[in-house]
């Protein structure tokens, strides 16, 4: 695998994250860069989903990826193989990214002509939900093996997401996962969230997700 650029992220100096996030979102809008913040538990399939999404959209948009991790660069190396611009962000133990940290990442990525930027956040259903990164839209992945009760236990994460992908549908048979109940729990937390069952490994449902992302990106870039 290729070597990738690794950036050690510094703690943000700004106390008012909401204001920093608003400023960043406005700047990205002016530059025509759509930023997706992708969140999930560890191992829910963020990188696999991202790799397939890149494959589906890389001829339509210039894509840049920021892989945030506490340590290691395995994900960024995997993404670099897809040919898109990528940077690994090391959070040095920090459990989330805020707007100031996301800005550091975007500067490190050297966005230039990037149209669709993706931040793969730290695998964590708690802390990333509390910090607006400045993203245009928030997406999260819940995987079937985690169970359909997660919206009950991690309410904030589900309430801040514009779209919830339910991944690993290929193993539905082997787990006690009730898709209807899961949709109902998500609706309780967030009636507006779009829910798309997918299997990043086999490709099931990925068309609907890629269409959603392409439309949001195109809409965002319209003046």
């Amino acid at each position: 695998m290729k070597e990738v650029k690794v950036l050690e992220i510094r703690q943000s100096v700004f106390a008012d994250n909401d204001r920093q996030a608003l400023l960043l979102r406005q700047e990205l809008k002016e530059k025509g860069i759509f930023l997706l913040n992708l969140m999930s538990s560890p191992g829910a399939g963020k990188t696999t989903t991202l790799l397939r999404t890149i494959e589906m959209l890389k001829d339509r948009f210039r894509i840049g990826v920021m892989e945030a991790d506490i340590d290691s660069d395995v994900d960024a190396r995997a993404v670099s193989e897809s040919g898109v611009k990528v940077i690994q962000l090391h959070t040095g133990g920090m459990c989330h990214l805020d707007a100031g940290m996301t800005r550091q990442g975007l500067e490190g990525l050297e966005t230039g002509d990037v149209e669709l930027a993706v931040l793969e956040n730290v695998g964590n259903l708690v802390c990333p939900a509390e910090f607006d990164t400045g993203a245009s839209k928030n997406a999260m992945i819940l995987s079937v093996p985690e169970g359909h009760d997660k919206p009950l236990k991690y309410p904030l994460m589900f309430s801040v997401c514009d779209v919830v992908l339910i991944n690993k549908t290929d193993v539905l048979l082997y787990f006690d996962f009730d898709m209807d109940l899961c949709r109902e729990y998500i609706r309780m937390r967030n009636p507006k969230a779009k829910v798309i069952p997918i299997c990043a490994k086999t490709g099931e449902g990925m068309e609907e997700w890629a269409d959603w992302l392409a439309k949001e990106t195109a809409d965002w870039r319209k003046r």
Copy 2:
């Protein structure tokens, strides 16, 4: 299901958590209470593992359980069916428990004659690893669907655990999970950690885990 006691945990007032943890551990030692801190990602199987562990050990030890969650009491209600003493701790959005919060939980549980207390921590591989709860031993569950690379990405969690349970071995066939590589990665982070593959659903490997826990509890309670 039964109604269970729910305690809203307050943020700790102590700045020096390590000292608070040391004090709590000493107090528990004097009272003959072994405290297990059980950690994992969301949905890795903490509650299912705990339910089977209780079934295996409840005739040997008086068991008390603290179920920490940001919200909901589904886990505590499930545990209450097993007949052991249980309390639901609500962290009010907080992503981990520290020693002061654990102390509040133990007081709420009214440990009395409890010999083996279990804290089911918030589902999170990042923050709980940073705070000593005062537990006698730390255990974590990594589930097969999460992938064998997790020790690379969440190093601190693996380095603070005395035992790592690798759960959901019944679905090994359906995931690209390399058990040998996983053991090697865990060893890199923590050469002393005991690794036990289990399936809490079918019972596979649970004897070895229950034996370990019973021995640690008995040793702790020896004067």
